[in-house]
Symmetry: C2
Subunit: 394 residues, 2 copies
Amino acid sequence: MSQGPLAGVRVVDLTRVLAGPFSTMLLADLGAEVIKVETPAGDQIRGQGGMRNGFSWYFAGFNRNKRSVKLNMRTDEGMAILKDLIRTADVLVENFRPTVLDTMGLTEEVLKALKPDLIVCSISGYGQTGPYKDRPSFDFIAQAMSGFMSSTGYPDREPLRAGLPISDLIAGLYGALAVSASLRRREVTGEGERIDVALVDSILSFASYFAANYLATGTAMERTGNDHPVVAPYGVFRAKDGDVAIAPSNDQIYGRLVDALGLREALSGPDFATNAARMKNRPRVNAIIDAKIGEDTRDHWIDRLNAAGVPCGRVLTYPEVFEDPQILAREMVCEVEHPGRGPIRMVGFPMKLSEAPCEMRNPAPELGADTTPVLEALGYDAERIAALRDGGVI
Amino acid sequence: MSQGPLAGVRVVDLTRVLAGPFSTMLLADLGAEVIKVETPAGDQIRGQGGMRNGFSWYFAGFNRNKRSVKLNMRTDEGMAILKDLIRTADVLVENFRPTVLDTMGLTEEVLKALKPDLIVCSISGYGQTGPYKDRPSFDFIAQAMSGFMSSTGYPDREPLRAGLPISDLIAGLYGALAVSASLRRREVTGEGERIDVALVDSILSFASYFAANYLATGTAMERTGNDHPVVAPYGVFRAKDGDVAIAPSNDQIYGRLVDALGLREALSGPDFATNAARMKNRPRVNAIIDAKIGEDTRDHWIDRLNAAGVPCGRVLTYPEVFEDPQILAREMVCEVEHPGRGPIRMVGFPMKLSEAPCEMRNPAPELGADTTPVLEALGYDAERIAALRDGGVI
């Protein structure tokens, strides 16, 4: 058994694709026993993304540390097994559309009867309530409807999505957070509850200064590409061998920047003396800094600017990220041996806990790899398991 | 007292600006008592973002449900008070640079002596370890160094940041998740621990298919603007009165889309029959769909496509988001009465818990609003409190 902070917690995981599987992977990384219940066809992302040795590394990176039970939930026997499993669970996580759990017969009452202190976490596009709840959803749509896209991109081009499925992943994080907090409450009170997390709500919670500014003043901020909406200079500059991001967030750090670049003289005078003046003359300021940065390499400037206390860094591609000394020192790339599939590499654990650390206990499971031991532990004997297998239930 | 899942938990909060305050606000929203300890100048974001009635709504949206103690931690008496406070705490959260806590005298040994089962969560740019740990950091730099920017933007333009400070916020979420899981462990084992969360690690954990694809194949994916890297059509289309995002993620949903648009004939033939063919002919596919969408309004198409089961939605600005019926039904805009500052509006709670819900217990505190009652509860009498106030310690 794991020694993580959620050791001893059993999660029945009915999720597919991304938001839900990310949420349950976080719980698994934190030590919970996560039993992923899959249809006979398996989670569809088993067939998506970068493949190697016949296995999806995309699937692998979202399903490590879980067990897999294959179950035909469209049969009465399959549903009976699922109910037996829920009786042994502390948490149930699902990311179906809102009515599906009820249609399967897992109404609130049925779940309560099966396990009175069960925590049930539902992750969906729009949530379990409201006029859009039955609409089909998708990460990209949540990025559009939450205002996120209106904040990203250039002022003279269309609103732009993030290249990564951030709505799915933020919702997954909120699901795991709500479940963990609720598990703490369950230790204290003995009670379960229902949790409802929506993709749109989740990414809207990131609106930060765009939301505050609009709500306080009635005026919406414009998107500004890589420039900061109210600070200049700030952005991406071109060194001899690649891009450097520089973020001098206040006058003090701006002063350090111009000194470190040797531009105190070039950037003196009333046109550059205040942030307000620099905002007005941003193209000139940026051009002067860009020309200077272009005289040397990324590493030269990054060493010099960091030494001067100016936040900056290379703008890295993923091949560069996965070779970066800091990323390697933080063990943010990890490898797991997967029997028959070779070693599989994936992103590591962003939460570093000193006494009960996240651990790679096992690779993402093959479809149904744990069906037999899980059913045996539920008290099913070998004969019955064989019959269920012959009948296509498992 | 709150009835949330973290009710009864006391958090001493030494964080400033964004990642840390977001993390402790999540804990406060979940019911913890969060005591924000501020320098006499106060958290700098009290003076930033959209202001109204002399109060920053940006600060308000990241510090609701907290208490504020003003403390000069550069004095011995100030540090003595902080230590008294830590003795009563379950959790300490900080987002200083890695060496600062030690410099203040709050070494691991001192903290352990003050409160043996304390959970200490540190949030920083690069983490507490590794070659870059002492560098100054900033959300934008983490977006650059984590590969995120390389995934976002157009293929013919520079890598692009998200308009929102997503590295800060994702790290804040991981901090709250790790603390909540660790609090559950503390209920079971009675033990505290140290938690180390970095902005760069946190946003790197979102790399999903970009990471999987590169690690599995050795080839990095390109950024593709609003287009999907491997699915066509997919993106933003222009209706008469605004933009519509459409995400038909597979052939089945593509079929629904062309039928709902009445384009079955226009998009027939070998050039459009498969996703691979459509990827090759993406400009033509997009132009045909764009022309059709342009014939009517956003709402027309969104009703029709949703009814057909095609994920789609308006691309909303924040003024539109905060009037959207779903957002309002989900109570994702909420208002709190702030004495002397009028009602303040902010984004609501993305975690909906049925039995122990997040609640708006109180607005973000004025600087030092709770200094006196918190010190009284620590056993400081009125005379001593007055002397500390006269001495500029509180």
